[in-house]
């Protein structure tokens, strides 16, 4: 099983004619994702990567029945693209774009409140349900279908962890990059709730980093309402305060957002936090064996 996206996912790529948009449309199609429409205003009627292009998301919904969007629109126009998707009734909106102004994201969050949509990102690698579909930019071949859910604020760090999981024989139900920006559409908790209700997910790996308090909030939620094993990793133990570590959201400011505080909050909630990235896959396997008598398929 999986959450949010599966073989029934029909994707529209916003910004399909751009360099990133067209490259990753190819990659998604190669993975087996049903990319059935693209949107580039002014280029409706054309084809890109053999996919029909429309002027608007609304047209793509009407003509191709898309239910998920993947956004590669440049930062100045990305907020508008998210709102267009939300307004057209798209259910899962995946925004890959990095560099969206924070006030634009405040406006997006106010606009989509109460709408029946889930925003993943921005500044994220996207979402993949291995063997079914990938909506995003992660390398497909490192993933295997399985029972571990992954939620992460990072891109390549997630690939590292997924690769380790796959190597120890643990496949993944769904992997979600929630994004490295200060304001993102969905939190750890939003997806933990979905994994909780997904019978196909046996355990969750949570990959956090410095900045904000999303990990602390997740710890509180897990303590009160989450019964499956969670294994966490927090990046940035050695990050100095006051410096933005690449991601717009990865900054320790005013003494808040330190890795150590997050590790503490998670451990206090009884969550296994692995400090050694090199062995994370093995740790997840050990935890599953102990808690569930789990044996990965050969």
């Amino acid at each position: 099983m999986s959450i949010l996206v599966d073989e029934n996912t029909r994707v529209v790529v916003q910004g399909i004619t751009g360099k990133e948009g067209s490259f990753h449309t190819q990659q998604m199609l190669a993975y087996g994702t049903k990319v059935v429409a693209g949107v580039t205003p002014g280029k409706g009627g054309q084809k890109a990567e053999s996919v029909p292009v429309f002027h608007t998301v609304q047209e793509a919904v009407a003509k191709e029945g898309v239910n998920t969007s993947c956004i590669f629109v440049p930062p100045p126009f990305a907020a508008d693209a998210v709102m267009e998707s939300a307004s057209a009734g798209i259910h899962v909106i995946v925004c890959i774009t990095e560099g969206i102004p924070i006030l634009d994201m405040v406006r997006v969050m106010e606009m989509i409140k109460g709408k029946d949509c889930v925003l993943i990102g921005p500044n994220c690698p996207g979402i993949i349900s291995p063997g079914k579909t990938k909506v995003g930019i992660m390398p497909g071949p490192i993933h295997r279908p399985g029972e571990v859910g992954v939620i992460s604020r990072s891109g390549t760090l997630t690939y590292e962890v997924v690769d380790q999981l796959t190597r120890v024989g643990l496949g993944q139900s769904t992997c979600i990059g929630i994004g490295g920006d200060p304001i993102i559409g969905t939190s750890f908790i939003d997806h933990l709730k979905r994994f909780h209700d997904d019978p196909g997910t046996a355990a969750v790996v949570l990959i956090g980093e410095i900045g904000g308090s999303a990990e602390e909030e997740a710890a509180e939620y897990i303590q009160t309402g989450f019964s499956k094993p969670v294994i966490a990793f927090i990046a940035g133990q050695t990050a100095p305060p006051g410096k933005r570590m690449g991601h717009a959201g990865a900054i320790i400011s005013g003494g808040k957002g330190k890795a150590e505080d997050k590790v503490q909050a998670l451990e206090n909630a009884g969550i296994r936090v692995d400090r050694d990235l090199g062995n994370l896959g093995q740790t997840v396997l050990d935890v599953l064996r102990i808690k569930k008598g789990y044996h990965p398929p050969e």
Binding site: P101, I102, S154, G180, S187, E209, G246
Partner: protein
Amino acid sequence: MKLHEYQAKEVFRKSGIPVPNGVVVASTDEVDGVIRQINGPPWVVKAQVHAGGRGKGGGVRVAHSPDNVKTATMDILSHPLVTKQTGPEGKKVLRVLIEEGAEIEGEYYLAMVMDRSKARPVMIFSPAGGMDIEEVAEKTPGLVQREHVNMQVGWMPYQGRTLAYRLNPQPGPDTLKELMAVMDKLYHIFIDYDCSLVEINPLVITKQGRVLAVDAKMDLDDNALFRHKDMRGLADPMEKDPLEREADKYGINYIRLEGNIGAMVNGAGLAMATMDVIKMAGAEPANFLDVGGGASEEMITKGFEIITRDERVKAILINIFGGILRCDVLARGVLAAAKKIEIRVPLIVRLEGTNVEEGRRILEESDLEFLVAKDMAEAAELVAKQG
């Protein structure tokens, strides 16, 4: 992008937030020419650097004569300023702000910041001005009031009243009106300039009952600078480490740290985690360097050059998980850099992901000397051996 106090005060002045009159000078010689434009004594001489805690570090002086102003200016300009935010080596001060003094009745804290988890800007107001607000919030949370703003509505007058009328004792009605006007203007600055922070600490009520922003701090959202082209010129590159400045030119995310193991990684999360791995192995990272998800061969070359120019670096760890960035591109970039510069320290390479075979082959067939780590665990072991 951080602004200096004098730059932020210029924005305040334009927006109608009252600030003391002042002039910026870069040398003692300029003092005579400008001192008559500013009311005094007393005068206040303030170091212009991007660091908090200037007062305690001796970067803010009160002067009672023009000669005093000169001495203070010379003193501040000739010594690096050490505060709790600068590190022990301190920061060189290139400019000072000379301002008229104010007769202070009360000091307050006022700021607009982004509340990440609520996804809304929040106004923070406290009667405990001039102090470290984080500390105040921790020790006496009752002294810190917050008002979140729905941007679809904007800052409403009732929110100003909610904050201002809580004051005890109450300032006079005209002062309260001024205070609420400053709050409204602060919100508009925050929105109009795409800020991530606008802070006045302290906001002063003078003996005459006027409201005055004695300090000013503004931090602009880097991602929004494309729509504030006029503000870009206010960036002060001298605030950065020279290697960081160089990296900026090429769009490389590089932050210099205290250790001696250089690192080049793709992706911010993996770069942070790699720093942690270095530390776990008993060494210290010399830098954070994220070449980005889709780095070109040229960016890899530049990144590698920047690391090797840091003289403290005793070993270099390249950790790449190829996704969009292909391992063969990485390998070619490293080789191009090695042709230009002599690499005198051990090089540890860990490659995984897209086109990894090709990347490894390119490196192996070159005459570059390097150690191969097959995974993160082995990379850590090899780093530890370089100690």
